[in-house]
Each structure stands twice: as structure tokens, then as C-alpha cells.
């Protein structure tokens, strides 16, 4: 799965997610990606999220919308992302990852799987990482 979230100069947020799905899936199986609130969600009043992971688990907790709900309750992008992923793991045993932004341009890339390749561009700097805790930077 791949995805992106962004905030533009006007403070508008958007998300996009795309996937080939699960390995050796049944023909006709559709996962979380095309489902609003699961594979992604974007609302200028809270932020935008794109998700990846076990689709059936993500759908059961509507992960993208859940994270934005936590942000609406005052949580930061990082805390809301972690709360959503932790809820998914404890409730349905699913692993996954997300990228999240709020309309002010604060962002997070969080996951509870072993790895997730991610990158972010802001203010002329490229941030990127693969394992939890990594945040390498270089000038763009």
C-alpha cells in the first residue's frame, strides 16, 4: 500500500491511498483502502490521514476517522495516531501504519508494524525513515 496526506498554502488538507491489497487474496476481496474513513479521510476542520496495514482490521475500527476523532478531542497528530493504532491492536489484533497532518501543517508518520517507509517534505527539508524512531533529514 502507498499513500499521502498534504496541507497546501490555503490550509486545505487532502489524502490519497492506493494498493494492490493482500498477498494471494481471494478474487474480489476489497480491503480498507477505498473505504472512506478506513483507507483515508480528510477534513479541513481536523486533518487528513492515510492508512496501511491489515485491511480487515483497519475497517473494523475505521482507523483514519478514529485518529481524526482523537484530534478533534484535542490530541496532537502523534498522540492521536498512536491512540488509533493502539486501539486497533488491542481490539482486533491488527498492525498497521499511518501518516497524519492537521490543517496547521503539523504532521506525523507512525506505525506499530516492524517497518514502514515514509517521507515528508516541509520548509525545504526532507524527513524520512523506515524503522520506528527514525527521522533522517536532508535539504531539498
Amino acid at each position: 500500500t502507498v499513500g499521502a496526506v498534504a496541507v497546501d498554502r490555503e490550509g486545505n488538507v487532502a489524502c490519497a491511498t492506493s494498493t494492490g491489497g493482500m498477498l494471494n487474496k481471494m478474487e474480489g476481496r476489497v480491503g480498507d483502502t477505498p473505504c472512506i474513513g478506513s483507507g483515508g479521510y480528510a477534513d479541513n476542520q481536523s486533518g487528513a490521514v492515510s492508512t496501511t496495514g491489515v485491511g480487515e482490521a483497519i475497517m473494523k475500527v475505521t482507523l483514519a476517522r478514529l485518529i481524526l476523532f482523537h484530534m478533534e478531542q484535542g490530541q496532537s497528530v502523534e498522540a492521536a495516531s498512536d491512540l488509533g493504532l493502539a486501539h486497533m491492536k488491542s481490539r482486533v489484533g491488527g498492525l498497521g501504519g499511518v501518516v497524519t497532518v492537521d490543517p496547521q501543517g503539523r504532521w506525523a508518520a507512525r506505525f506499530n508494524s516492524l517497518q514502514m517507509a515514509w517521507a515528508a517534505g516541509q520548509n525545504g527539508t526532507l524527513h524520512y525513515g523506515l524503522y520506528a524512531g527514525e527521522d533522517f533529514t536532508q535539504s531539498m
Binding site: 498554502r9 492506493s18 479541513n44 517507509a117
Partner: protein
């Protein structure tokens, strides 16, 4: 407020041999999306461009490089959503399309529907002149190898794809 684009590949297990290409791919996509923002483009333009770049990169499970279903075919899903209006568009189980994210955006821009699936999505793509590509052009040696490996009766495709917890 500073414009920003954040991109991701799949959560799960990235083999050591593919780690460098995966990082290089997400960095290219972030650069592509950020260039759109720097040029005055909208956040929607930026996320579609970033995901288009990742779909064209064979190291990711989307577009070219998608995993195969049990029959050895590619079936892809995509979504876009615009935070200004809550407009969204999605496609599911589409085949023979190089960039499903662009088709999802067309669903958002050109129809009143939220999601088109399988043959209907294909017909919609045709009606708008979206080029079809051969299935083979979306399949990599790596995805075929993983498909074969997981045809064994005792295979665990979810564990193979997701790996361990972080």
C-alpha cells in the same frame, strides 16, 4: 502554516534487499508532492502526484508492483479525499490501469458517486479515455515469486506481508 506532504509505503516487513529502494521511492514521492505545493498546487494535486509516483515504482504494492490475488491477477483499490468539501472518489478491484489514484480522482471530479468497482470502474475509465495497460506490465518478478511461495497449503500470506510487530 507551512505546506507539507507526507507519504508512506506499506506497513509490515520490508526485506533488507529492498529497504534502500523503498526509502528512495518514498523520498522521490515526497519531493514530487512538495514540488506541486511549492508551485502553488493544491493539497489534492500534491497527494495524487505523490501517490502516482509510488504507483509507478515497482518496489511498492500499488500500481506496478502490486501483489497478486490467488489467481495470479492484479486487482487494485484507491481513494482520494478533499478536506475542503469532504468530496471523495474511490475505485476497487480495478485491473489494467497504471494509476488507480488518478481514476479515483476522476470518480470524485466527474461523478456523484463515492466508489466504482471492477467492471464498472473499467467502463468508466474507458469512457474518459484513460488508457488501459497490459496486466503483465503491472506484475514484477518479485510479486510473482511471492505469489508462488504463498500458494503452498501451509502458507500464511498475512504474516508474509505484515511480518512482526514493531
Amino acid at each position: 502554516m507551512l505546506p507539507v506532504v507526507v507519504v508512506h509505503g506499506g506497513a509490515g516487513h520490508v526485506p533488507r534487499t529492498r529497504a534502500e529502494q523503498s526509502l528512495s521511492g518514498v523520498c522521490s514521492a515526497a519531493r514530487g508532492g512538495y514540488a506541486v505545493l511549492r508551485g502553488g498546487g493544491s493539497s489534492m494535486d500534491a497527494v495524487v502526484e505523490a501517490v502516482r509516483i509510488l504507483e509507478n515504482d515497482p518496489h511498492f504494492n500499488a500500481g506496478c508492483g502490486s501483489v497478486l490475488n490467488v489467481r495470479g491477477d492484479v486487482e487494485m483499490d484507491a481513494i482520494v479525499m478533499d478536506g475542503r468539501t469532504l468530496s471523495s472518489g474511490a475505485v476497487s478491484a480495478v485491473r489494467n490501469i497504471a494509476n488507480p489514484v488518478q481514476l479515483a480522482r476522476l470518480v470524485m471530479d466527474k461523478t456523484s458517486h463515492a466508489c466504482l468497482t471492477a467492471g464498472g470502474a473499467q467502463q468508466f475509465a474507458r469512457s474518459l479515455g484513460v488508457p488501459e495497460v497490459p496486466q503483465e506490465s503491472l506484475i514484477t518478478e518479485y510479486s510473482r515469486m511471492r505469489w508462488k511461495k504463498n500458494l503452498a497449503p501451509d502458507a500464511n500470506p498475512v504474516e508474509c506481508q505484515m511480518g512482526k510487530m514493531g
